[in-house]
Amino acid sequence: MKGVSSWLQFRLGDQTHALDATAVRQILRAPRLMPLPLTSARAQIPGLMAWQGRPLPVIDLGACLLRRSSLAGADARFLVWTQAQQAGVLVVDGVGALLRLSATTLTRHWAPTQPGLPPPWNAIRGVLHAGETADIAPTGFNCSLSTPIAVFDVAALWMACWDRLHPADGEGVR
């Protein structure tokens, strides 16, 4: 389906953001985690999760962006993402609708960000907004772009969070 973009909405606190749906491979609820011996970053990295025979590190996105854990929430979801050779798991407060926008529609509702934002907000690629016409609608979900949605690049977000947690030895983990 060329010319159509999909974004998966997720919730952090009272804000709704979105990720490129092509990078998200699975959504899980409360999988079994293996804690890592990283006592200083235990809140941000709860542990490792086994996914299709691979150990994937788990990053609490709420702890990374909002300084409070998303694992404590009842509706916490684990987003498994893969992109190229990278893979990981992001924990968010909740998962919303799946947005599908054509290229022509996207040009009216897409606002790219300017470079220079501090990490991890530099992982935002653009903002989806309602624009002048309300002809955008998510597929199947009762939500609309009443408020702007920040679209993150999942790999950049992962790296920003990781570098923020371990700026010295981040390269080795990657």
């Binding site: 389906m1 999909s6 998966l8 749906a21 092509t22 998200v24 491979r25 699975q26 959504i27 609820r29 979801r77 998962v95 609708a97 799946l98 597929t139 199947g140 979900f141 009762n142």
Partner: protein
């Protein structure tokens, strides 16, 4: 040797000493003769008595001689010298002093004697005037005394009249006190009223008891209805709990299904990008899946919006006897309360009436006692009046 008082006393002392020594000697020589001792004592005592009389008489004679000598010495010093020789030397200085104080010539009246006589006459006149005033005052007092006696006689007559007037009263009181204690005429109507009120109170008490029984039965019915309603409420609460549990399970299933649909939707989107795939089929599957996810999300949203209200709301308690039973019970309770209040009011009135009756009886008894004691008081008053009349007479 001339007789002097000192010598007389010395003689008397010597004789008494001799008498005492003789008595001691007799008692020592013959102690077993009390008659002799008594005789000696009696004789001695008689002799001492005679001696004392003699000495007293002689002392009086000496005093008379001294007085005579003083008079003679004051009249004529030579005659005083002659009389002095008959006396003891003890009295001589006294006689010589009287002779020395004798004036040389005959006593002449003083120069101011006329003045003294004039003053004496004036004093006598004043005394006579005071005596006349005193006599006038005495006559006035005599007149007042006569007037007081006249008033006292009048008062005495009045007292006697009052005593005579009290005689019939005493007789009447004696008759009254001798009578038995009859119930006053005013008591009987009140007793009738109290009996009627008592009967009415008994009737009302029975009526109150009957209503209380009915109220008790109504309360029992109410308690039974409440128990039944409570049982139904418990059943309803249990049913609600079961429904909540099932709703929770359904919510969990919806959530699972939603998550599954979202994952499936993601997989379909991944597969749709695969080259050589029939895009139309995937688009149709994605559309169906989006519709399903939309329905699930709306269902989940409705459940979330309605769940808190149903979870916290109390189950409605069914009313066993709606409206009619409640009104009847309220009427019964109101009537029973009014009857109880009326009964209490009547009881209070009866109590007050009985108390007033007791107070009236007590007052009547006290008055009868006072009437009984009144003749005695009148008798005392009469005796006091008689005594006063006797004193005045």
């Amino acid at each position: 040797m001339k007789r002097t008082p000192q010598r007389s006393l010395l003689l008397f002392w010597l004789i008494a000493l001799a008498w005492g020594g003789g008595m001691a000697a007799i008692a020592w020589v013959s102690p077993a003769q009390p008659a002799l001792l008594l005789t000696a004592w009696s004789a001695g005592a008689a002799l001492l008595l005679l001696l004392a009389l003699y000495l007293g008489l002689s002392f009086r004679l000496d005093l008379l001689q001294v007085q005579q000598a003083l008079r003679e010495a004051s009249a004529d010093p030579q005659a005083g010298e002659a009389g002095k020789s008959a006396l003891a030397p003890l009295w001589w200085p006294l006689i010589e002093a009287a002779a020395a104080q004798q004036p040389a010539g005959k006593i002449q009246p003083a120069p101011g004697a006329d003045c003294i006589n004039t003053q004496s006459k004036a004093q006598i006149d004043l005394l006579q005037t005071a005596l006349a005033a005193e006599r006038a005052q005495i006559s006035v007092w005599q007149q007042k005394t006569a007037q007081a006696q006249a008033e006292l006689g009048l008062l005495r007559r009045q007292v006697q009249d009052a005593a005579q007037a009290l005689l019939p009263v005493e007789s009447v009181l004696a008759t009254v006190t001798l009578l038995p204690h009859p119930a006053p005429a005013a008591v009987e109507p009140q007793q009738d009223q109290s009996e009627a009120l008592g009967a009415l109170a008994v009737t009302l008490a029975g009526l109150t008891a009957e209503f209380a029984t009915q109220v008790h039965a109504a309360n029992q019915q109410e308690a039974a209805a409440a128990a039944q309603a409570q049982a139904r409420g418990a059943q309803h609460a249990q049913a609600v709990a079961t429904l909540c549990h099932r709703a929770g399970q359904l919510r969990q299933a919806v959530d699972d299904l939603q998550l599954f649909g979202l994952n499936l939707r993601l997989q379909l989107s991944h597969f749709a990008d695969t080259p050589g795939v029939d895009v139309a089929v995937f688009r149709q599957a994605e559309a169906d899946l989006d519709a399903l996810l939309g329905g699930l999300q709306s269902l989940s949203a409705d459940d979330l919006s309605s769940h808190p209200a149903t979870d916290t709301a109390e189950p409605p308690v069914p009313e066993p006897f709606p409206q009619v039973g409640a009104r009847l019970l309220a009427h019964l309770q109101l009537a029973s309360a009014q009857i109880n209040a009326a009964g209490q009011d009547l009881a209070q009135r009866s109590a007050r009436l009985a108390q007033a009756r007791a107070q009236w009886h007590a007052a009547a008894e006290q008055q009868i006692q006072q009437l009984a004691s009144l003749p005695e008081l009148l008798q005392r008053l009469r005796s006091a009046l008689q005594q006063a009349a006797q004193k005045n007479s």
